[in-house]
């Protein structure tokens, strides 16, 4: 029946969202910059093996601590590993963590938020749990969760996701509470539409825009949290080169060979900046009233 409903409108006119997107992009050229940088990073991560890289784990103690811009673009670290290759492969880890956390925490938060927004008794219980989680700084919570488990990429994603979920739940819950009082939801009830259908057809589509914006901010903050966890040794295992790991290993050499930290740091900062600029553009395109939060 849903298919029948969708096909009622035959020829499509421009969706309001598409029109707003175009308008916002015109007003926010920085968002285009963000999108371009992010896409470039994703392309680099995907094409890592074909970008003149070598095995990022291959050690060569003879050629350790070479300066950049010579034989090795970004130099080599104290074990003689090629920093260029490590940074390029590191993009895979950082972006994977960012995207995975953004998608997972948004989906889980959306599900919990929809329920708490609609089921009165669940609301009080779930929201107190969320308040409890939120009272712990998200990095600390992630460290604690990592301490309970084994260092692996999946566990890093899990730990950061758990610490991001409460924020998504809060956002979705407040959106649902606002939307369910909207006259068009009342109109749907009067038209005989059931609860489940109202949720899917009237509430859910109106939460997508703010969630998308929140998702980009989570993307950015998850990449930073991953770097923090790796930097203090509670993150991605050392055999996987992530930007945080590369910086962590170069910590002791910072005064001698600062580029070992600065290069992965620059990649991380640039990517986070790009994601945030994109998020700002999206926010203005989708909902000018949504408050900024990172």
């Amino acid at each position: 029946m849903a298919a029948a409903a969708a096909s009622i409108s035959a020829a499509r006119s421009a969706s309001p969202t598409v029109a707003r997107f175009k308008d916002a992009l015109r007003r926010h050229p920085t968002a285009i910059f963000g999108a371009v940088v992010l896409l470039a990073m994703i392309a680099i991560a995907l094409a890592a093996p074909w970008l003149g890289t070598v095995d990022p784990q291959a050690m060569s103690p003879v050629r350790r601590l070479r300066d950049p811009w010579g034989e090795y673009w970004f130099g080599t670290d104290m074990l003689g590993r090629d920093v260029y290759s490590r940074v390029i492969y590191g993009a895979r880890v950082s972006l994977t963590v960012g995207i995975a956390v953004a998608i997972l925490s948004t989906l889980v938060g959306l599900a919990i938020g929809l329920v708490t927004g609609f089921v009165r008794w669940a609301d009080a219980i779930v929201m107190r749990v969320m308040d409890g989680l939120m009272s712990i700084p998200s990095v600390l919570l992630a460290i604690a969760l990592m301490a309970l488990t084994r260092a692996s990429l999946e566990n890093v994603v899990f730990a950061i996701t758990v610490s991001e979920i409460p924020r998504v739940v809060r956002l979705v819950r407040s959106l649902v509470l606002g939307l369910r009082e909207q006259p068009f939801v009342e109109a749907a009830t009067a038209a005989g539409t059931g609860v489940a259908r109202t949720l899917v057809r009237h509430i859910l589509p109106n939460t997508v825009a703010p969630l998308l914006v929140q998702g980009t901010y989570i993307f950015a903050s998850a990449m930073i949290t991953e770097a923090i966890l790796s930097f203090i040794g509670a993150g991605t295992p050392l055999n996987i080169p992530s930007w945080g790991n590369i910086m962590a290993e170069a910590r002791s050499l910072f005064q001698l060979k600062p580029w070992l930290i600065l290069i992965p740091g620059a990649f991380l900062s640039l990517t986070v900046l790009a994601v945030n600029l994109l998020g700002d553009g999206l926010r203005d395109a989708l909902d000018p009233r949504l408050a900024r939060r990172m």
Binding site: M1, A3, A4, A5, A6, S7, I8, S9, A10, A11, R12, S13, S15, P16, T17, Q182, P183, F184, E186, A187, A188, T189, A190, A191, G192, T193, G194, V195, R197, R201, H202, P205, N206
Partner: protein, 325 residues
């Protein structure tokens, strides 16, 4: 006339919550015991100033809010206690048009899908049949079928309200509750929408509960009119009698405030003193006694009951009922 809808002593009180535990410390008497009926093919106007409970009354009848007390009888059976599933078949016959044509249409749905929503809930039509139906409805409410693919924001206020009417009409209801359907529209557009509602009534034999604050609009479209003040109906009669010979002092004052489009016309204006009392603590006795120019001692103590001062003319006022033999 057989009554389609019969409302008796309907009440809706909202709790005022305060403090940490959210205890109800007071009640807003939004609707405080109103009774009326609507016959088939009839339009009942429900007028009153902002906050008098007229919209709440409409929503309670639609079961969008649950009544605190009283009965709602729909075609002979009570619906005030029905659950969601049991309300479903009733909702098909009892549709609604809302005040704000901007917020009562989901901005992310296309016009055709908005109008098709009740159809989809109650009739299993194929895509082609549904589109045909929606196109037909578009024509009935004065929209072009080629506008079906547009989004609400691409329509004007009047056109949006036509969409709302088409949606209400889609499953051929017996009664449409119109909650201030034209108050958000320009005057010229108001007339068009009112005429459309009248045409549709003539064609489909639908009844309306027409909630409004604009007396001119209500006079135009209604057969009978109920005047509400602070959660109560103070006067209920046919349109002609009400506008020519109002009995309740509040109705009198309301009518005297209607502007007359004649600069030479001299009219006695009744200017009411003071403000509407709070519906949290409505005054004892007659609700209107704090502002009534004729109030007596009895009005402050005793609440007047709705009394038939002449056939079909109900008034809740001690003075009027006492005067009549």
């Amino acid at each position: 006339m057989s009554a389609l809808l019969e409302v008796r002593d309907l009440r809706k009180h909202y709790p005022v919550r305060k403090g940490l535990l959210g205890r109800a410390v007071a009640k807003v008497h939004a609707v405080d015991g109103i009774s009326f009926s609507i016959a088939e093919r009839e339009t009942l106007g429900l007028v009153g100033e902002s906050g008098c409970g007229k919209s709440t009354a409409g929503k309670t009848i639609l079961r969008l809010v649950d009544p605190t007390a009283g009965t709602i009888e729909w075609r002979g059976s009570r619906i005030e206690g029905l659950g969601r599933a049991a309300m479903r078949p009733v909702r098909r016959e009892l549709q609604a048009v809302f005040q704000d044509p901007y917020s009562s249409l989901n901005p992310r749905l296309r016009a055709a899908d908005i109008v098709a929503e009740p159809l989809r809930n109650y009739e299993r039509l194929g895509a082609a049949r549904a589109r045909e139906q929606v196109a037909w409805l578009f024509e009935k409410v004065g929209l072009r079928p080629d506008q079906m693919v547009k989004y609400p924001h691409e329509f004007s206020g009047g056109q949006r309200q036509r969409l709302g009417i088409a949606r209400a009409l889609a499953v051929r209801p017996k009664l449409i509750v119109c909650d201030e359907p034209v108050s958000a529209l320009d005057v010229s557009v108001q007339a068009q929408v009112i005429n459309l509602l009248e045409d549709l009534q003539a064609e489909f034999g639908v009844s309306y509960l027409f909630v409004a604050h604009d007396l001119a609009v209500v006079e135009h479209i209604s057969h009978r009119v109920a005047v509400m003040y602070l959660g109560k109906i103070v006067e209920l009669t046919d349109k002609r009698t009400l506008f020519r010979d109002p009995q309740h002092p509040y109705t009198e004052a309301l009518l005297s405030a209607v502007p007359v489009p004649d600069p030479q016309a001299k009219k006695k204006r009744i200017i009411l003193q003071g403000d509407v009392p709070s519906p949290i603590t409505p005054p004892p006795g007659c609700r209107f006694h704090t502002r009534c120019p004729y109030a007596e001692e009895r009005c402050r103590r005793e609440e007047p009951a709705m009394t038939e001062v002449r056939p079909g003319h109900l008034v809740a006022c001690h003075l009027r009922t006492a005067v009549q033999p």
